[in-house]
Symmetry: C2
Subunit: 335 residues, 2 copies
DNA sequence: ATGAAAGCGCTAACAG
DNA sequence: CTGTTAGCGCTTTCAT
């Protein structure tokens, strides 16, 4: 049924040698390795990760904590992490805080901090004092992807800058009446991202000498429906903007749909730009500032894996690259 | 640093008692439990899942295998599974076959079958002889969610029936020129779902005495872009359908966008219905046949957890419920 | 290049 | 209600 032991007796070798052969450590005769190999899968040997983990203290597993999972960005990051982990023979344990029905604390203590993972990736999460302390107590390497997180190194784009660029792009096109569909605190994400992007927008406006219209910064909740509803409301306001900068592509799509529903055209009547590089962008013709979450995830996984293997910890990351993708959703303001 | 042992000496109890107290087994004096508890977190005790796993043979983990992750359905199912698992104190290991860069076999042997999970959920996957054999060799309970999978019990909607109903709905509205945007074999999914849905469509047409137009069953690849492109092509054909039944909501959205881009209206010029119950549906006004993947995932998790706990295995599942959601994307054919 | 022996940290009978 | 005694299956010095 199970066991390195069986292989040992079947081959007439010792457990140690079999163990070494199976992990192809040096100093095992090639012939021996062969024999062990053959016997192993002849017996249908399946290693016990628990036993190996107990013995080595390593679980060959990294945890990924997401605030919610049904968001384009998180999913792509997950893909990037997964691919890299898989390549290294590591498994990925997913912790979805949203699934915990508000019981974030329990997930934290009972699951995440359990000695089950060798490293941890936190997605767009900000932590309170207590949580941060807990995290620091953990021995393993960790990092945040997505938003800056006070006290923890983080990997991601420069949110403020990209928002500034996006707004500036609209400004340069001639727009002066620019709205920003952003978010507040994402469901449990407690992330700094929405704020950073809003600031970037505000700063670009300020640098252009334009006073922001308070009603023009609705909360799109970082969802398609939220973007749509925000735009619909904007369209009914006493004065309507000629351009919209959405803090995420999904919200931008929602806004575009709302604009079209209202019988207006993009970009002739209203221009729209987003941030992300969502797959739907091409079809929607959305002009956007694309980031590469898959690469970010892969990068994170590589760094973590390296550190688990003993490499010195990287204290911080340079900002992840952003690519401007010009399509057809933005143009000069009407008339 | 670690260990139940430390707590034992610190409290003057034995390892066993501490172990019992920590897991609140019966037959431990309440006072003892208290004492152990306090000492445990005073010492910052973190249990070793590897040790527990080795001792019990249980890992408190279930694996979920997805063909690709960036699909609405899989993500929702994942949420359902995760929530239920979390509640039971189980962890979820994610296996993304797409991430394996075609190396499906390796993921299979090196990871999935490793003795690391207590149960397995397979999403919309069909297996070849060899894989099925391997799966049967595993001791733990498993099931497929999504598509029927020969040889393995499966939980999901009745794909043929829902497709039949969707087509019938269009037929009853008076349409006779109905196209079907479906899929072939999803990227590595190797699923039976697309075929079943196509059959349902064909059968409904046949029952209505309508001969299908071969060109009207394009492959939308189950993606938004695929749905869009398929529809765009349909629109350029020598003859254009008055209604489209998309095998998934995402493809339906793509089709709607293509229709609008062509200057046509939904449903006045062309009706569209989908399958799924995607969150975007409300905004798009899509009439669809909604399923509840979160519930399916939760159900699966509950069943598996029960079986891990010793309950007898459920041999099969009744089809998951489908709810007809009538919105505004379908109406009678023009003129 | 291979073997022997001692654990890794916890659970599970079996006593008491 | 609590303690003792064995392991779970693998890795890892230390010998040989």
């Amino acid at each position: 049924m199970s066991g390195i032991q069986e292989i040992a007796v079947a081959t007439g070798l010792s457990k140690s040698t079999v163990s070494r052969a199976l992990r192809d450590l040096p100093s095992v005769a090639p012939a021996t390795v062969m024999a062990v190999r053959r016997m192993a899968d002849q017996l249908g040997y399946i290693p016990s990760s628990a036993a190996a983990g107990l013995a080595t203290g390593r679980n060959r597993t990294v945890g990924v904590v997401v605030p919610v999972i049904d968001r384009w960005f998180y999913i792509r990051v997950l893909e990037g992490i997964d691919a890299e982990l898989r390549r290294a023979g590591y498994d990925l344990i997913l912790f979805n805080l949203a699934g915990a029905a508000g019981d974030r604390g329990r997930v934290f203590h009972r699951s995440i901090l359990r000695k089950r993972v060798d490293a941890l990736v936190l997605l767009s999460l900000v932590f309170d004092e207590d949580e941060r302390e807990q995290l620091e107590l953990t021995e393993y390497p960790l990092l945040v992807i997505g938003g800056p997180a006070p006290g923890i190194r983080h990997l991601g784009i420069d949110d403020h800058q990209v928002a500034y660029r996006a707004t500036k792009y609209l400004l340069d096109l001639g727009h002066t009446r620019i709205a920003h569909i952003g978010g507040r605190d994402e469901a449990g994400a407690n992330s700094l991202v929405p704020g950073e992007r809003h600031e970037g927008y505000l700063d670009a406006l300020a640098d252009a000498g334009i006073a922001p219209v308070p009603e023009w910064s609705p909360n799109g909740e970082f969802t398609f429906a939220g973007g749509h509803d925000s735009m619909a409301r904007l369209l009914q306001g006493p004065s309507v903007p000629t351009a919209v900068f959405a803090a995420s592509d999904e919200m931008a799509f929602g806004a575009m749909v709302a604009i079209q529903k209202a019988g207006l055209r993009v970009p002739e009547d209203i221009s729209v730009v987003g941030i992300d590089g969502h797959a739907y962008g091409k079809t929607f013709g959305l002009t956007t500032f694309a980031q590469d979450p898959v690469a970010q995830g892969a990068r994170a996984a590589r760094v973590l894996l390296g550190e688990v293997a003993g490499q010195p910890a990287l204290p911080w990351f340079e900002p992840a690259p952003v690519t401007f993708v010009e399509r057809t959703s933005a143009g000069p303001p009407p008339n």
